[in-house]
């Protein structure tokens, strides 16, 4: 497949925004339960939600560049019964709404206490909205990943590992972003975010490596024999029916050398996982704000390369019909 930059930005920015919001709400929940200090993270809930919302808006804007007719985008919520893309279109604005309400409640202070826990902890309105938003965040990971994982003949994508990758890589970048933000907004809580960012980065590396191994062992189901229905071991395409390009030759071939694709695999393994893991560990050990800031920048760049590779790696069966120009 040809990687589209709109979709690369869409999926990486959304993933980081969702992860950042999950990190903040997780922190507030754990603080309420007494696991973390009750007031250490207060300073970053509002601004953090603002950054998460900015990432989600950035992803949404990028998605419009993928559409031929962006002015009709509102129609795409119609087929939620069957289409994961439609479900994503519904969940994303709902999540943006909850992130906005959560951030606004913390920044304006209009945050009534809804209930009290037996220990005396106050469940405020923002946390209730935040927990709903967390469910939506996870749902959005599933929707985004299932857009790709549900296409059964794109076998590189048709795997539960796709859902695991989108979830874990989004969570990793979101928690890394939270760690970088915490160094200035809530310095005492940076180790909490960095620790979980490191854990998600390691888990994401394991799951992405598993999908790389799986995909390297795939054998094509469709062949030229089944594509044209001729049962002979030797078939050669002489002509694809036209000499210049068409949508079929542009959309489904990445057009890059296999050596570049192979080297980008190592680039993203380094930039999305190895280097951020080292920087996060360094940030945990030394409390260095620079290390955590570098970690999120490197990881986001690495995840964009990862997403490019994700698309380039997928081999569409229609390509069997376009092997020879003339």
């Amino acid at each position: 497949m040809r990687p589209a930059f709109s979709v690369i930005f869409l999926t990486t920015l959304l993933g980081a925004g969702q992860g950042l919001f999950l990190a903040i709400v997780a922190h507030q929940t754990l603080a309420l339960l007494g696991v973390l200090s009750p007031d250490g993270g207060r300073g970053m809930y509002g601004p953090g939600a603002g950054v998460a919302l900015a990432l989600l808006v950035g992803g949404l804007v990028a998605s419009f560049f993928h559409l031929g007719r962006p002015e009709r985008a509102w129609r795409s919520a119609a087929m939620w019964r069957t289409s994961w893309l439609s479900r994503e279109v519904i969940v994303l604005p709902a999540l943006m709404g909850t992130v906005f309400l959560y951030g606004a409640a913390h920044l304006t202070g209009v945050n009534p206490v809804l209930a009290r826990l037996p220990g005396g902890g106050a469940v405020d309105a923002a946390l209730a909205v935040g927990l709903a938003g967390s469910v939506l965040s996870v749902a959005l990971y599933v929707c985004t990943a299932m857009i790709y994982a549900c296409l059964k003949f794109l076998r590189e994508w048709h795997s539960p590992l796709t859902v695991a990758n989108y979830t874990l890589l989004g969570a990793a970048s979101g928690f890394t972003a939270a760690a970088a933000l915490a160094t200035s907004l809530a310095p005492s809580e940076a180790p909490f975010f960095a620790g979980w960012a490191l854990a998600f980065t390691v888990l994401g590396a394991a799951s992405r490596a598993a999908s790389l191994v799986r995909n390297a062992r795939l054998r094509p189901v469709s062949t030229l024999q089944t594509a044209i229905g001729v049962r002979h071991p030797v078939i050669r395409q002489i002509s694809q029916g036209f000499t210049a390009g068409s949508f079929n030759t542009r959309e489904f071939f990445h057009g890059q050398a296999q050596s570049l694709v192979r080297s980008l695999k190592w680039v993203f393994l380094l930039l999305a996982f190895a280097v951020p893991a080292i920087l996060l560990a360094a940030g945990l050990a030394s409390g260095s704000a620079q290390a955590l800031a570098a970690a999120i920048l490197v990881q986001m760049a690495g995840l964009m390369v990862e997403r490019w590779f994700f698309f380039a790696e997928a081999n569409h069966p229609q390509n069997l019909y376009y092997q020879s120009v003339a």
Partner: protein, 243 residues
């Protein structure tokens, strides 16, 4: 339930591309708007087509066969391109099984083209929406045409009658009989899409001739196992038949 479809006879197709050009001509002139080309007379031209004819060589030289392979939307009975469409623009008609795109609803997200294993859909770069074969839905029901002309443009154009059109759910239709009796098969059956369009395979045409058909056993000239030999100067049999 009706399922309209094409049955394409690969044994007869000569690869003349008449179906491609007549399809383009009909569908670029219709009420659904043009099928535009980009730089049609330039070096890097491109265009949107519903139908393409490809050519394959099967076997190893010198034992090869050339197979011309017309390729268009197969109007699958379980089309994977329909459920993925977020707007409902891509749909399969209940009344005749034709898979269509509602050009007024399509947002051009290309997801349906990703979901089609056959590469049957092409994005129209000018109108920025997805397009595909309509089985000439604006022609086959046109009551102003004589009944024999209510067929897709590609079927009308085919000089060798390699393309048959009809209802594959009617067991007595021409297409059902062709599939049943001539070994019609679907493409990429492994994905469970149940394409409505079928292809008829190449067939070896052999004529069996026995020796007694080449040489008449009771030929009176050969009763005595020898030809009557004319005397010198007399006309031969060859001369006689040229008189």
């Amino acid at each position: 339930m009706t399922q309209l479809a094409l049955v394409i006879d690969l044994n007869v197709c000569v690869g003349c591309h008449a179906c491609v050009t007549s399809c383009k001509e009909w569908n670029t002139s219709g009420s659904a708007g043009p099928l535009p080309d980009t730089k049609a007379y330039g070096e890097q031209y491109a265009g949107t087509f519903f139908n393409r004819v490809q050519t394959y060589e099967v076997g190893c030289y010198p034992d090869t066969e050339t197979v011309h392979f017309p390729k268009s939307c197969l109007h699958c009975e379980d089309p994977p391109c329909v459920p993925v469409c977020p707007t409902g623009a891509s749909h399969k008609r209940k009344e005749d099984g034709i898979v269509l795109v509602d050009y007024d609803k399509c947002i051009g997200c290309k997801y349906c083209s990703w979901a089609c294993p056959y590469g049957a859909r092409e994005l129209d770069d000018h109108n920025r929406i997805m397009k595909k074969c309509t089985l000439c839905v604006d022609r086959i029901y046109d009551a102003s045409l004589p009944p024999q002309d209510r067929k897709p443009a590609c079927v009308m154009a085919c000089p060798t009658s390699a393309r048959l059109f009809g209802d594959i759910h009617d067991p007595e239709s021409e297409v059902s009989r062709a599939i049943r009796e001539e070994g019609g098969y679907p493409l990429m059956p492994e994905w469970g899409t149940h394409p409505a369009n079928h292809y008829l395979p190449r067939r070896k045409t052999r004529v069996l001739i026995h020796d007694d058909e080449l040489e008449r056993a009771d030929n009176p000239l050969k009763v005595d196992r020898q030809q009557p030999r004319p005397a010198k100067g007399e006309p031969t049999l060859d001369d006689a038949v040229t008189w």
